[in-house]
């Protein structure tokens, strides 16, 4: 059934379709309408979930650790400061190998207070062990909830799906809402091998010393990499069932490109238009959409970007003292390519500053016109 809904409602629909058993949440703009909608959905009897109204995001994630260890499909949502407050427990959830799904609405981090789009909140959680997926449209948001549980429950790692504040969270788009029967076939009930069960007593999260902690993290790392293989199976199964497909790192008009621009989130949609326009002008430019950011799809990035002369990486996030995080990671991956492309890191749109087609066109032309980046990173549109 097609409906015109906001990104936050798309998430709520995804959670309903996945028959999540426990939801915990603490309000924060622009996430709040996800859990408000979920409490309506539960109130209407469309989802039989326990909804825990906790006292903070730290407790929200801790409650997820409890419910997921008890063997129940668990969901929470947050944004910005809330995600940062969860940080300790994010590490915990991943280390405990719990297949929790969290949707994070990308919002700038304070101070100064700013509630608008910025990906610094989630990129700064990159080392927590969570799988990270960046979405571009409300349809992708809904579908990603369903795919995330499938992925998480197979590999036993938590998944964070993220999308831009307001540009998606509060903007309506046409979304095809799958039938729950189809989702049931795609995503069977969660039946974990290890869970709290008094008839089969176990201890979770105990002490491990230097003799085996190292191996334990090695296994976690290796399992995280398995997400990459498993993702393609999930993706094709999803495609067979629902007719939609989301590449781990989608290529857009990259054939014979002499320049590829890498984007994540809603800037991607803007960039598609610009790429079309520049192609019409005869400029051989393409785009790679960064969808999965953890684990890093190293082989894929190398294949797409490794042989192009120029790569522009657009970051709506900043690690002060370094620059944009995506650029940094793309650079690290491409260091191993034989013909290292020239990389143009660009920081844009922090704190919700609009990034228009003219901006993207300007950025691409800047990279086309210069043999080397003028600034690393380049701050595009900085007010003097």
């Amino acid at each position: 059934m097609k409906q015109v809904i906001k990104g936050n409602f798309a998430v709520a629909q995804g959670v309903r379709l996945c028959r999540v058993g426990v939801i915990s949440a603490y309000p924060i703009t622009p996430q709040t309408t996800i859990v408000e909608e979920l409490s309506e959905i539960c109130a209407r009897g469309e989802l039989d979930a326990k909804f825990i109204k906790v006292e903070s995001e730290h407790s929200a994630m801790a409650a997820m650790v409890g419910s997921s260890t008890a063997g129940v499909r668990s969901f929470t949502a947050t944004s910005s400061q809330g995600l940062l407050l969860m940080h300790e427990v994010l590490h915990w959830a991943a280390g405990a190998r719990l297949p929790i799904v969290l949707s994070n609405v990308n919002r700038a981090v304070g101070p100064g207070w700013n509630i608008w789009a910025d990906q610094t909140d989630s990129v700064s959680q990159r080392d927590t062990g969570w799988v990270q997926i960046y979405c571009e449209s409300n349809q992708e948001v809904l579908d990603s909830v369903i795919m995330s549980y499938k992925l998480a429950e197979k590999i036993l790692l938590p998944v964070m799906l993220t999308y831009d504040a307001f540009f998606l969270s509060h903007t309506s788009e046409i979304v095809d809402i799958p039938d729950i029967e189809d989702v049931d076939e795609f995503l069977p009930p969660y039946r974990p091998e290890f869970r709290l069960d008094v008839d089969n007593p176990r201890t979770f999260g105990g002490m491990i010393g230097p003799d085996c902690y190292y191996e334990e993290r090695y296994v976690m790392h290796k399992d995280s990499l398995k997400v990459l293989e498993h993702y393609s199976d999930v993706c094709s199964e999803f495609h067979d069932k629902f007719g939609r497909e989301y590449d781990i790192a989608e290529e857009y008009r990259t054939d014979d490109a002499e320049l590829i621009i890498v984007t994540a989130g809603t800037i991607t949609s803007v960039t598609r238009i610009v790429v079309d326009k520049l192609r019409e002008q005869g400029k051989s430019v393409g785009m790679m959409k960064l969808r999965m950011f953890r684990p890093v799809p190293v082989e894929r990035w190398l294949k797409v970007l490794g042989t192009v002369p120029k790569v522009v990486v657009v970051d709506r996030n900043i690690s002060a003292g370094l620059g944009g995080v995506f650029a940094n990671e793309v650079q690290a991956v491409l260091y191993n390519s034989e013909t290292r492309p020239v990389i143009y890191p660009v920081v844009v749109g922090l704190g919700g500053r609009d990034v228009t087609p003219d901006d993207v066109e300007g950025i691409i032309n800047y990279a086309l016109e210069n043999d080397k980046p003028k600034d690393v990173p380049l701050f595009w549109g900085l007010k003097q």
């Binding site: 603490y26 309000p27 924060i28 709040t32 309506e40």
Partner: protein, 246 residues
């Protein structure tokens, strides 16, 4: 002609952003009147919380530092320890103080920090659009309790004043309301005492204000003010719990 009523010097001359019928504006004014009364304007440092009162710095003619959500009492602790001669107050909503910041307020009180806490209890998370807070009343409808707060699954409306009274570290704890002139006059008296507790170096002082949020209660200002009287005061009784006479 003698002027008998004017804007306190501690308030900047700009309109509040609060909704019509919101009590935050009245409480802001009371705090400003006390700052003027004790001549503290040049010595005051306010610690603002996250909630509808986040723009404290726009309204107070004093230094203001913003705290992350829930951390005001801890930030104020740092401010006061570093500048013991300043008058330091926090201004926090019930989501801020009684949900995410519960640990900070309990420990600041328990350590007897020489700060003054203004706690504005409107039984909802106001700024984020009216979700259930720990203070939400039994049966109260909010955006996250569409059928009303169910004590079975959501627990009980938390009484912060009573809780902090029990801590040996707190010096003055009181609950006030500004829903009618009589309560307002009483509230001002309590607030003055709370100021003195800090300026005399006596210890930690705390005043809880019952406050109307007509917008999220989906009421007119008049109905909201009546609700304070009829529903809130019976459950959250007014008065001094510790440290003085009314």
């Amino acid at each position: 002609m003698k002027q008998t009523f004017k804007r306190p010097k501690a308030l900047v001359d700009i309109p509040f952003h609060f909704c019509p019928g919101c009590h935050h504006g009245i409480i802001h004014r009371l705090v400003a009147e006390c700052i003027d009364f004790y001549g503290l304007r040049e010595k005051t440092i306010g610690v603002a919380s996250v909630g509808c009162s986040v723009f404290l710095y726009d309204y107070f003619n004093a230094d203001v530092v913003e705290a992350p959500h829930g951390r005001a009492a801890a930030v104020a602790t740092g401010v006061k320890r570093a500048s013991p001669d300043n008058f330091v107050f926090t201004y926090q909503g019930d989501g801020d103080l009684a949900a995410i910041g519960t640990a900070e307020i309990i420990h600041a009180a328990n350590r007897g920090e020489r700060i003054t806490v203004i706690f504005v209890n409107n039984t909802v998370f106001g700024m984020t659009g009216g979700q259930m807070a720990p203070t939400t009343m039994s049966g109260q409808e909010t955006t996250t309790t569409p059928f009303g707060r169910d004590l079975e699954t959501n627990g009980f409306p938390i009484k912060m004043s009573e809780l902090l009274t029990e801590l040996p570290g707190s010096t003055f704890v009181a609950r006030a309301a500004v829903n009618n002139p009589k309560n307002l006059m009483k509230a001002k008296k309590l607030l003055k005492r709370a100021f003195e507790v800090q300026t005399n170096g006596e210890g930690f002082s705390f005043v809880e204000f019952l406050s109307a949020c007509p917008t999220n209660w989906k009421m007119t200002p008049k109905q909201a003010t009546e609700r304070v009287q009829e529903e809130m005061i019976p459950y959250f009784p007014l008065g001094v719990f510790k440290g003085g006479q009314e």
